[in-house]
Amino acid sequence: MSESASRRMSESAISDKRLAIIGLGNPLRGDDGVGCRMIEELARRELPPGVQVLDGGAVGLGLLNLMEGWERVVIVDAAEMGRRSGEFVRFTPADVRLASASDRPSTGSGHRFSLHHAGLSEALALADALDQPLPEMVIFGVQPAGVGWGEGLSPAVEAALPALADAVLASAVCSRRREEIIGENYAQDSGD
């Protein structure tokens, strides 16, 4: 963990909470760590005002707490999408079906929820079951080459990092611009 990344994370707790870029995963499990690695990369860059980066790691269901209070979140996570390793896709929860532990093969007893797999999909399912409001959300899924034990990203995912960082930041900037435009329109309307 770089010092700048830690500093930004502690700052994030106190500054305005417009947009959070949250990286998820375990850096000890190969490409599963791409979300955390992305946060380290972004922490070295100049971020637009109101944008913070957070390394969620293996936060599990605690993601619900982490997302609380933010207007928007951009999540970066490894995702099995049947694509070529290193390819990444920008989507929203509405665009996809996120397989959760409950979709995985039954063990016979019907008890299928596991914190073992508790990640984004379980957190969203729980929020949905409780009608808990969530921030507007964009997800960047990155196709991993491997998620076995071991540090470091595969060459394919490593090579994708610069383009991924640009895309994540562009996405953050885009949603900020849209917010400003909506803000201006609103100001004009109310002025009329």
Partner: protein
């Protein structure tokens, strides 16, 4: 029923991959075991060749649920190797942070993984529909413990502010005061939690075994102390190998451990059994309501012991906050370390039981050798012996009920077989 065949692949609501295999013919057990299919000996490879100040951060990534526990055991091992003694305030802040993680882990396990078995639903998701207030309370407690960890550790999970010899960040008195008020408010949620779990019909099963935990003279031990067992043994942490006696077994990638008997148990039940008198009076009272009295030989009550520890940690966190506020919080400057070659062993009693980190450093402060013994591995042999004792007692019940009871036994141990990748599986619609 005289012939029974149960094969549960990847028991759910446990951390990691484990299978239950039971095969009986004409009332005779042919096979009965819990096998672990994923528990690589990866630990040493991650830390070897790394400088001392990186180890707690690397090891805190082993697990998203025990990240403070791993970081603390790691720091204690490094501090002992390098001859660093953390100041009193650091020790207090570490205890408070540790309590946060104990509450966080126990609320997840008891509410999300154990309660659904008793409340007749498959998981916490349908539980949100049938027992909404229960799930909301769990989330509330989880938020409190997560915020407590973030206040001291710098973020909810994988603490960044913990360093060798001190913290790189300290909470303000205002933050601490606000947190203390929330902890006081959480007493109501603790009372409700005890009331809920007191109604659950724990399976009636006992098997005498040995309980291993840390022990301290002056407090309920989570960090440091001596290693004690319910059979009357006591060892300095440095002699941990005399307790763990690791051995390989053919059907499991986890090494088994044994001490005075064929197996021993670690975790909340072991701690409550060994250190009951040091629990906060409110926690002792909770134990009474939950029917938990030392020495308790029913492994299913490990979950009840976790509830007791949540109560204890809330109360002790209020007390530690008082102590910190009375002293006044000083900014911390982790000391400049005089690097020297050495070996250190750190031990903490993390949510799932006693944990050991053992490092050897060279003269440049680079780790050249490491060993880590996690609680779940220490429980594997005991879990298997429990299963072998339990199956004959329930063999005549319907197969589904047997399967569920065995799964509940596995879950009672709260096993963390390996921390896993949490990547998404996505299907575009």
């Amino acid at each position: 029923m005289t012939t029974l065949k149960i094969d549960v692949h990847h028991v759910t609501r446990v951390e990691g991959h484990g299978n239950i295999v039971v095969d009986t013919r004409n009332g005779e057990i042919k096979e009965c075991r819990f096998e672990v299919v994923e528990a690589p000996r990866f630990f040493e490879a991650f830390v070897r060749g790394r400088p001392y100040y990186e180890l707690s951060h690397i090891t805190s990534r082993i697990c998203g649920i025990c990240s403070v526990g791993h970081a603390t055991a790691s720091l204690r091992a490094t501090e002992k190797a390098l001859g660093v003694e953390p100041p009193e305030q650091t020790v207090l802040l570490r205890k408070l942070l540790f309590h946060g993680e104990i509450i966080d882990s126990h609320v997840l396990h008891t509410y999300y993984l154990v309660a659904p078995d008793f409340l007749g639903v498959g998981s916490v998701i349908p539980l949100a529909a049938t027992h909404r207030e229960v799930v909301e309370r769990a989330l509330r407690v989880k938020k409190l413990s997560g915020d407590l960890c973030a206040m001291i550790g710098g973020r909810h999970t994988h603490p960044v502010a913990m360093a060798v010899g001190g913290f790189t960040h300290t909470p303000t008195e205002g933050e601490l005061r606000e947190m203390q008020a929330r902890l006081v408010d959480a007493r109501a949620d603790m009372d409700e939690t005890v009331a809920l779990f007191a109604t659950l019909p724990w399976p009636d099963f006992e098997r005498e075994t040995e309980y291993v935990s840390l022990k301290k003279d002056d407090e309920y031990a989570f960090i440091d102390g001596t290693v004690v067992t319910s059979d009357g043994f006591s060892y300095p942490i440095e002699d941990y190998r005399k307790v763990t006696n690791e051995e390989c077994v053919p059907f499991s990638t986890a090494k088994w451990t044994h001490h005075n008997r064929e197996s021993y148990m670690v975790g909340a039940l072991a701690r409550v059994n060994n250190n009951f008198d040091q629990l906060h009076p409110r926690a002792q009272e909770a134990a009474g309501k939950l029917g938990l009295k030392p020495i308790c030989y029913n492994p299913f009550l490990n979950s009840a012991a976790q509830v007791v520890e949540m109560v204890h940690c809330v109360e002790d966190s209020i007390r530690i906050s008082d102590e910190l506020l009375t002293r006044g919080i000083q900014p911390e400057q982790p000391p400049k370390i005089e690097v020297e070659a050495g070996e250190g062993i750190g031990s903490c009693d993390v949510p799932r039981g006693i944990l050991f980190h053992n490092y050897v450093y060279d003269e440049d402060g680079i780790c050249v050798k490491a060993n880590c013994i996690i609680p779940t591995n220490q429980n594997m042999a005991n879990l298997n012996h429990d299963m072998q004792a339990l199956v004959p007692q329930i063999m005549d019940k319907p197969q589904d009920e047997i399967r569920l009871t065995l799964e509940m036994l596995v879950r009672a141990y709260d096993p963390c077989i390996s921390c896993s990748a949490h990547f998404l599986t996505v299907e575009f619609v």
